[in-house]
Homo-oligomer: 343 residues x 2
């Protein structure tokens, strides 16, 4: 008999609601016979907030903490002031569940047209720190709305927080092409950058097979365009990881093919899997959002729970689907059905 | 008789030394008959620092303050710990001379091959704030080198500092295609992002002809790859501007064609003109660095001093040179001579 896992499902806003059911279906089908899932749906996001003002009530957070993993769609709605849902729901989950590894693979699939003329063979993973840096909310403002206003944003970085994600990156590199590129801006952000570099150097000594180099964030955005195949594992902080993974998504032909995991690698709390695209209000409700990234996030969830073979089934199905049909216009449901049929 | 201007020349490090003389020659030739220049060279950068430990002595800064404008090459040397020269020399100049507008045009010249398959017509300007944000050096560290280390970086943003650069951007937009895109990360950096947005909205009311929209920094890195021709004026903070302009440089075929101005728009202190590329230690000393960006920075200097016709001569010469010879391999001197011959 296969074990049953409880999955929290947070479709969220916009196209998040349209693509998440396909992630569930893919999960289900790929894990047939090896794992069973029960789903606990959470009505969180813009609709809920507009209805009763709730963003992420404690009681619901506690229930989420008890699940085995989370499938998230997307968060964000133009009717709501920027930051409220992002910080109150998405980032609150990442922080409260201590999801310190934000894992974002970028791969150029056969059949996808990259905007680059000569993209080469793109296959790297960004390991983005998920619980520190400028995302910690430690800023403020005085004299708001006056000519004397001062607004601050504080990036907090700890050796504890950096070392654990650095270790994760080295372990990951050992399973891949054994190369890490640290990305920071250590010529300007000398305190945080210096700490990141020292910790990478120190941990690197324990992994003599892994080579590592360094790139400033500005230079890294150049390499993503001029020579993206040079990267294997990119290791970086919360904000730089946010920026690089969107650019990387564009370079591999659109964020519609990019999934991510917000991982609590010590397994104290559930990890969360989501497409890296947003709620896309401009196309929401039309049934045309591509569910591929959401389906790939289900594969990451399976890998995280240890079901590598089931995850591979999804990856293979997605690869075959994109190679054959990637350039045809299809509805959300059509892409979903096509991929499901191959799992 | 034409007026004489004093130009501080800081070739700096690496290829900075190789390209700066060509900027001077171009300046000279383009302004023949309308302005005369005397040059005050400053021996600042890695060599000087290694020789006598000086980075930017007060006395030299005072002399620089008395000049009419500055030509800078590049700063940075692998022998010196990251941050020392960047913060002690380059950023110190930008801050001490209150160069609050960091102006960075991006243009895809005919004859240059963009890494994008379908680049379209790229011609935008990034207006990057130059004296605030994460560049102010307001971070620190405790328990350095221990497992309890905490390192911070503080972004300081003032209504005073933001409003003046926002006004500059609107004035610039009036002379261009009348569209501004504010780039920030206001869904996470809610204090600073909210202030930027409010000030843009407020100043925007005085410029009803100029439309403005907003993009998160992560999304902006996507648009630079997927649809760069959508931009006219990009308005953003110090760090996001640093990142976007390097990516933009890549998209228009390499930072070798991108110049920048660090402008004190109230003219209390001299403004500074530099290529956006760095000191490129890997190719320094070989005589192969492309002087085009440096030469274009001379054109920006001329515009700043009010010599628009002279500046146009340089732009035309560069455009013609790139269109005809952009794809041929030439030495620094050859490119320099070829462009000079057309001025
Ligand atoms: C929505 C936003 C807060 C989020 C982030 O900045 O992390 C998103 O851009 C992402 O990359 O997951
Ligand atoms: C060298 C460095 C400090 C500088 C910056 O970050 O501003 C450079 O990258 C630039 O863009 O001019």
């Amino acid at each position: 008999m296969s074990k049953t896992y409880t999955i929290a499902v947070i479709p969220g806003d916009g196209i998040g609601k349209e693509v998440t059911p396909w992630a569930q279906k893919a999960l289900e089908k790929a894990a047939e016979g090896v794992a069973d899932f029960t789903y606990e749906p959470f009505d969180l996001g813009a609709e809920r907030y507009l209805r009763d003002g709730a963003i992420l009530p404690d009681e619901e957070l506690e229930r989420i903490k008890k699940t085995d993993a989370i499938l998230l769609g997307a968060v964000g709605d133009p009717r709501i002031k920027a930051g409220i849902l992002e910080r109150g729901l998405l980032l609150k989950l990442r922080f409260a569940l201590d999801q310190y590894v934000n894992l974002r693979p970028s791969k150029l699939y056969k059949g996808v047209t990259s905007p680059l003329a000569n993209p080469g063979d793109i296959d790297f993973v960004v390991v983005r720190e998920g619980t520190e840096g400028l995302y910690c909310g430690a800023g403020g403002a005085v004299r708001r709305g006056t000519p004397q206003e001062v607004a601050t944003e504080v990036s907090i970085n700890t050796a504890y927080g950096v070392e654990r994600v650095v270790r994760y990156a080295f372990e990951l590199a050992m399973k891949r092409r054994k190369h890490i590129t640290l990305v920071h801006k250590k010529n300007v952000l000398v305190n945080a950058g210096d700490m990141w570099q020292r910790i990478v150097d120190k941990v690197g000594e324990e992994y003599p097979e892994v080579t590592h180099d360094y790139s400033h964030i500005d230079a890294a955005t150049i390499f993503l365009v001029s020579n993206p195949s040079k990267f294997d594992v990119i290791l970086t902080d919360n904000l730089f990881g946010d920026i690089l993974t969107d650019e990387a998504g564009a370079v591999v032909g659109g964020v519609g093919y990019s999934a991510s995991g917000c991982i609590n690698a010590s397994n104290e709390y559930p990890s969360m899997f989501e497409p890296i695209h947003g709620s896309a209000p401009d196309i929401a409700g039309k049934g045309i959002a591509n569910p591929t990234a959401a389906i790939l996030s289900a594969a990451m969830l399976l890998e995280h729970l240890g079901f590598d073979d089931a995850a591979k089934k999804i990856h293979k199905a997605v690869e075959a689907d994109i190679e054959e049909l990637g350039s045809t216009e299809r509805s959300t449901a059509q892409v979903g059905e096509d991929i499901l049929a191959r799992i």
